[in-house]
């Protein structure tokens, strides 16, 4: 029984990591008032690029780096559409997302169905050998910890620094921010590119560590979970992280309970991660004033500099 608990908790951290990267990146983007719905496509690009680069070069560092760059480039295209040409953010995001899915197939074409040695777990010496805590917390690959660190850094930057204030100001009222001299479009561009790079890292984590293989459609809807996590996590990195870990835990628990042979309909079990995560996040964020405070006021609206 203890073995099973350890297995569930330990796997949760890995299962949540791709969501964590992408969701925190998206939270920053949305905090500047831009809604980027192309996460699914950007994760796919990151997954394919990371896999191909790591396979060819043998270097995980290069794999993750190129994945981040490739997704950042795609998100720059999105930025061009919505910031320069003032395209509708939803439509542009969906179009870029579909484009990303298509490009990922093209990038990974020669590697369809191939596998790779997964990113190895860190050896933290005695820490990894601690009973219970060792296998749960201290026996993971480095990206799991990088993911946690990213959440904390983003939380700190958004809520405790001047940069965070600027980002939030741009999202609340771009015209006011522009009036007092902030380069709204540049800040939005940087946020979008950052969000893209994070989604790329999340995607690459899928193919290089979590499921060490490339197959078309591997992201399997996780990009949409990310979008929902950001909304239900109230654009706050720490709550988003709770949501991601919860989602990871319940989706593993589902498989585990099925294996135990309880007579619960498996269709219901498959819906559980979504139901529980959304319910919990909705409950902890149910204060309407909090929603108004956190919801970036200009989210989804195009900003025309000359207007």
């Amino acid at each position: 029984m203890l073995d099973s608990v350890i297995f569930l908790l330990a796997s949760t951290l890995a299962a949540a990591t791709p969501l964590l990267f992408a969701a925190v990146g998206e939270a920053v983007v949305e905090k500047t008032g831009v809604l980027n719905l192309s996460i699914e496509g950007m994760m796919a690009i990151g997954a394919a690029t990371g896999f191909v680069v790591a396979t060819l070069s043998g270097s995980y560092v290069q794999g993750f780096a190129m994945a981040a760059i490739a997704s950042a480039l795609l998100s720059a295209v999105f930025a061009g559409l919505v910031l320069t040409f003032l395209a509708n953010q939803v439509a542009a995001g969906l179009a870029i997302g579909i484009l990303g899915l298509g490009l990922s197939v093209l990038i990974g074409k020669e590697f369809e169905g191939t596998t790779i040695i997964p990113l190895q777990d860190l050896d933290l010496g005695t820490l990894s050998e601690l009973p219970f805590i060792g296998p749960v917390l201290f026996s993971h690959d480095v990206m799991v910890y990088v993911g946690m660190a990213t959440v904390i850094v983003c939380w700190w930057v958004l809520s405790h620094t001047r940069l965070g204030l600027i980002i939030r100001a741009v999202g609340e009222s771009p015209s006011a921010a522009a009036t007092i001299g902030y380069p709204v479009l540049l800040i939005r561009l940087l946020a979008i590119v950052f969000g893209g790079a994070m989604a790329g890292l999340g995607g690459a984590y899928l193919t290089l560590a979590y499921t060490p293989l490339w197959a078309e459609g591997l992201v399997a809807g996780r990009g949409w979970i990310v979008v929902a996590l950001v909304v239900f996590g109230m654009w706050r990195p720490l709550r988003i992280a709770i949501g991601a870990y919860l989602f990871g835990a319940v989706s593993l628990l589902e498989l585990f309970i099925q294996g135990q042979g309880y007579a619960i309909p498996s269709q219901l079990m498959s819906a559980m991660p979504y139901i529980i995560t959304i319910t919990v996040l909705a409950v902890i964020s149910r204060n309407p004033r909090l929603i108004r405070l956190n919801h970036p006021a200009s989210l989804g609206q195009t900003y025309n500099k000359s207007a």
């Binding site: 297995f7 796997s11 439509a91 369809e112 499921t211 399997a220 099925q258 294996g259 269709q267």
Partner: protein
């Protein structure tokens, strides 16, 4: 649902649904026109007497999996008939309107025969076959027939039974874990056959199944396999997973694994117990020959070991010579028709006798099987 979610949460000025629908539609149309133009358009022009065959696969042919096996069938045809045949292959076609368009386009290109590689092409295939009575069609795993439309399936349960026997030999925990997509009869039949086989060599077998409720999610499949291993399964049966997701995790964790469709030895050189290999070569060649001779009549082919459509590939070296002999003789007895994997008495989970002593399960019942045998711990999703 997504649309209403978005319109609810995000203040967007325009008629959002309209914009999105138009974008998606035009993006798809452009993508598919390009795809068809590239794949079909580049086929070289050829003399009139060449027999032209169109192939439509639901996924990329890849190194392993369903479409790969269909493609091996195509290669067998090309090897057999050489210059007399010409192939037009379109891969990765989603079931639906796109498939219908590709079929019509192929017909317009003058193909003599069409191979439709997925169940979901059935209704479009039926329409196309009615419209073009001079083209012969063979369709994977469907159940509708016309004079010029036949269908084909494999009796994978035969191989699953033998693989189950092997699993019964090697398991130490007496627990087998299975990763399955949906509880359709085809999958349920495989689970039952594998379990019966395992029970034939090891009376104490218990079986745990995880239903993915998804046709394609390699990460979830892999996580399921890990979760089954954490629950003492030391043989994993990976059912209709087109990627090596489950197989590679078994290799990593040092647990035996059995997979379907293709030989996956290359992904689990130590831990692959056996692969259930399907092969369309004989059937495809026969049908093409019939179509060339104008003797083609659409019929339902359900090929098993006797037809060389199903076989055991890459048995693990860990099995003893004695055990191998038992397995090989079972294969021989199934091929000769002497033995049927669903031979009574068979008891279901509830304890009811489903197949009486001395009886075997009729094909019709097997095609609609909706109960699990005793020994499977997981219930069918209702």
């Amino acid at each position: 649902m997504l649309l209403s979610f978005l319109t609810f949460y995000f203040p967007i000025q325009q008629s959002l649904e309209e914009v999105m629908k138009t974008w998606i539609k035009s993006a798809r149309t452009i993508a598919w026109s390009l795809a068809t133009a590239l794949t079909i358009g580049t086929a070289p022009a050829q003399a009139q007497d060449v027999f032209k065959i169109g192939y439509i696969y639901p996924s990329p042919a890849g190194d392993v999996g369903w479409a790969h096996e269909l493609d091996r069938g195509r290669l067998a045809i090309e090897e057999k008939f050489g210059d007399k045949v010409e192939s037009v292959v379109v891969e990765n076609i989603p079931e639906g309107p796109d498939a219908a368009r590709i079929m019509n386009q192929m017909a317009a290109q003058g193909v003599d025969m069409m191979m439709l590689g997925s169940f979901g092409y059935m209704n479009d295939g039926l329409k196309t076959a009615k419209r073009y009575s001079d083209i012969d069609f063979i369709h994977a795993s469907g159940y509708k027939l016309l004079d010029n439309l036949g269908n084909f399936q494999t009796r994978n349960y035969e191989a699953a039974y033998v693989a189950g026997m092997g699993a019964g030999f090697v398991t130490e925990t007496n627990t087998i874990g299975m990763v399955a997509a949906y509880a359709i009869p085809e999958v349920v039949g495989l689970i039952n056959a594998f379990t019966l086989g395992a029970q034939a060599t090891n009376a104490d077998i218990s079986v745990k199944v995880v239903w993915l409720n998804s046709w394609f999610d390699p990460s979830k499949a892999q996580e399921s396999a890990r979760s089954l291993m954490a629950q003492q399964s030391d043989v994993i049966f990976s059912i209709y997973q087109d990627t090596p997701s489950v197989v590679s995790v078994a290799e990593e964790e040092g647990v035996y694994v059995v997979n379907t469709s293709s030989d996956m030895k290359q992904y689990a050189s130590n831990q692959l117990l056996v692969s259930l290999q399907i092969s369309w070569a004989d059937y495809f060649i026969e049908q093409v020959q019939a179509s060339m001779d104008d003797t083609f009549v659409g019929s339902a082919f359900w090929g098993g070991m006797a037809d060389n459509a199903v076989s055991m590939a890459s048995w693990s070296d860990d099995l003893s010579a004695e055990q191998r002999a038992t397995l090989d003789s079972t294969v021989a007895r199934i091929s000769s028709g002497e033995f049927h994997p669903f031979q009574g008495p068979v008891i279901d989970q509830a304890g009811d006798e489903k197949i009486a002593e001395g009886d075997t399960l009729a094909d019709g019942d097997l095609l609609a099987i909706s109960w699990l045998v005793k020994g499977v711990e997981t219930q069918l999703p209702k």
